[in-house]
């Protein structure tokens, strides 16, 4: 599993959420509610392979409704990293995913 724009590569275990995998591997993932499908700060944007995750459960679906009407997300496919469980390898976009220890060796510059 690859997380852009930083290019972080994560080996996600079967049944594990994206955020849980990142935290297990020593990365900090942006969140306020720490996995309760409430704050939506952990959201990722899927650019392809939408079927690479298990379908969203009721809690995640409820939280994803909060993206409706937010103009930035018009036409974008969003999932919550704290809920979404990958079933296949893919690439997602999430800023702010960073290694906690040691300091990240490579970090892409911001887009602009």
């Amino acid at each position: 599993m690859r997380v852009e724009p930083t290019g972080v590569s994560l080996a996600v275990r079967r049944g594990e959420t994206l955020m849980a995998a990142a935290e297990r591997l020593g990365y900090r993932w942006p969140t306020i509610c720490h996995g309760q499908a409430v704050c939506t700060a952990c959201h990722v944007v899927l650019t392809r392979d939408t079927e690479a995750f298990e379908p969203a459960g009721p809690r995640e679906q409820a939280a994803l409704r909060l993206f409706e009407g937010r103009s930035y997300f018009d036409g974008k496919i969003v999932r919550l990293a704290c809920q979404a469980r990958p079933v296949a390898d893919t690439t997602v976009t999430k800023r702010g995913v960073r290694a906690i220890e040691p300091r990240p060796e490579r970090r892409s510059p911001p887009d602009r």
Binding site: R28, P30, T31, I32, C33, V38, C39, T40, A41, L66, G69, R70, S71, Y72, R95, G96, R98, R107, P109, P110, D111, R112
Partner: protein, 439 residues
């Protein structure tokens, strides 16, 4: 009664203020407020625009007390206890206008003029000759006016209105509340104490719990809190000059997408922008700011221009004043976020004599363009708040009121252990209430 008040005082524990839950939930404390706070405190009964013409009246209800606010003439607004001096009949209800500029009791047809002076006691000859007009004049309630708000006080010996307001008129002068008119007026019943509803809007400490979705674009850690006499305020010391999310997310500028933050900021105040503003904003989103400017600078320029286009007279205000957010609390029960040009104010009133029921008046006010005829506001009433979608933030705040109420009733609840900094205005509110209860 006195002993129950003493038991329910705000107490100190490890240098912090602890507010007993029973101040919110007990009938004894509520009764004490009904006895010593509400009959003696200046409180907002209505806006002047609700009684625009001579003869117009409005019934203001607080607990089991009904007060009649009456426009006596173009310059004068009076208030009376809403009870016939003869047999006690309530003289008028709701809103309306007294025909022929007289207040007439529906029961025995005694009449008074709009100043509350007796016009007729029917069959007066039956009464002893010693009966004088003043014996049967309407019981007067004191009136104070500021910023288009009509305050009333039931206590004839109350403190002067000006000393009650203290620094408020000066502190909030630039907001020109007197130039505002209702854009909407809704009253909602909540299963909570009136103070629970006040508390909900009296601190900016709760967004990370109740409104975490905002934190991706909104910095919730910049508020400063201050008390002004009986009242209080909090808000940003200066308008934001950067786009970042809440520091609670621990992100640095390369960790977030400015376009996403900008989009969410635009969405938050979307009602303000005209079609041409929207084109400019779309351009900003697409191309970023021109050289030498930041995104937020350009966004703020468009925002200020949109406010001017809306007819707001911003003369004499700095950009910083125009752009910063604040919340005003007028003791005991009127508060809400204000900016130059508009205000969202909540007035929380006990609903009858039930400590667990509150009437929350939810007022949207806005500067009216000069000389514009503003139609009278339609008042809407909601017995059950869940029958309407109030928008995400309100839904979260409203839904929480009942959760606080239920939790506070727990036998295991040891009282509100308040944050001395970010909940200082709630502590202050309780201390001022205690001043009234002690007297």
């Amino acid at each position: 009664m006195t002993s129950s008040k003493d038991d329910l005082s705000v107490r100190e524990q490890s240098g912090m203020a602890v507010v007993p839950g029973a101040r919110y939930t007990s009938q004894a404390f509520f009764d004490l407020e009904m006895d010593r706070l509400w009959p003696r405190v200046w409180q907002v009964a209505c806006r002047e625009e609700e009684v625009p013409q001579a003869g117009d009246f409005l019934e203001y209800i607080i607990g089991d007390q009904s007060i009649l606010v009456v426009r006596s003439d173009a310059e004068t607004i009076r208030a009376f206890f809403n009870a016939c001096p003869h047999r006690g009949t309530r003289l008028a209800s709701g809103t309306g206008s007294f025909m022929t500029s007289e207040i007439r009791c529906r029961y025995h047809a005694w009449r008074w003029n709009l100043d509350g002076e007796t016009v007729e006691v029917v069959d007066r000859h039956d009464f002893p000759t010693g009966l004088c007009d003043d014996d049967v004049r309407l019981g007067e309630v004191k009136v104070g006016r500021w910023g288009g708000f009509v305050f009333v006080n039931m206590d004839p010996g109350c403190e002067p209105f000006e000393s009650f307001l203290g620094a408020i008129p000066e502190v909030f002068a630039s907001y020109r509340f007197e130039d505002m008119r209702f854009r909407s007026y809704r009253t909602i019943v909540f299963e909570c104490n009136w103070k629970t509803a006040v508390d909900a809007f009296n601190e900016g400490y709760h967004p990370q719990g109740l409104h975490p979705q905002m934190l991706t674009w909104y910095d919730d850690t910049r508020f400063v809190y201050a008390q002004a006499g009986r009242h209080s305020l909090y808000g940003e010391e200066h308008a934001r000059q950067e786009m970042g999310p809440s520091p609670r997310l621990g992100l640095s500028p390369e960790d977030y997408d400015e376009a996403e933050l900008l989009a969410d900021r635009i969405d938050a105040v979307s009602g303000l922008f005209s079609r041409s503003d929207r084109r400019l904003l779309e351009e900003l989103q697409r191309n970023g700011p021109p050289a030498g400017k930041t995104t937020i600078e350009v966004f703020n320029e468009i925002r200020i221009r949109a406010m001017r286009d809306r007819g707001y007279d911003l003369t004499g205000l700095t950009d910083d004043q125009i752009l910063r957010n604040g919340t005003m609390h007028i003791f005991p029960n009127l508060l809400g976020p204000i900016v130059h040009g508009n205000a969202t104010l909540y007035r929380a009133r006990p609903n009858g004599l039930d400590p667990d029921s509150t009437l929350l008046d939810y007022w949207a006010l806005e500067w009216a363009p000069e000389g514009a005829e503003v139609p009278p506001v339609e008042r809407k009433f909601y017995e059950d708040w869940t029958t309407k979608d109030w928008g995400l933030i309100n839904n979260q705040d409203f839904g929480n009121l009942v959760e606080v109420t239920r939790g506070m009733k727990s036998r295991g609840y040891r009282g509100a252990l308040l944050n001395p900094v970010q909940e200082a205005n709630i502590i202050h509110h309780h201390r001022v209430i205690d001043q009234y209860l002690a007297g």
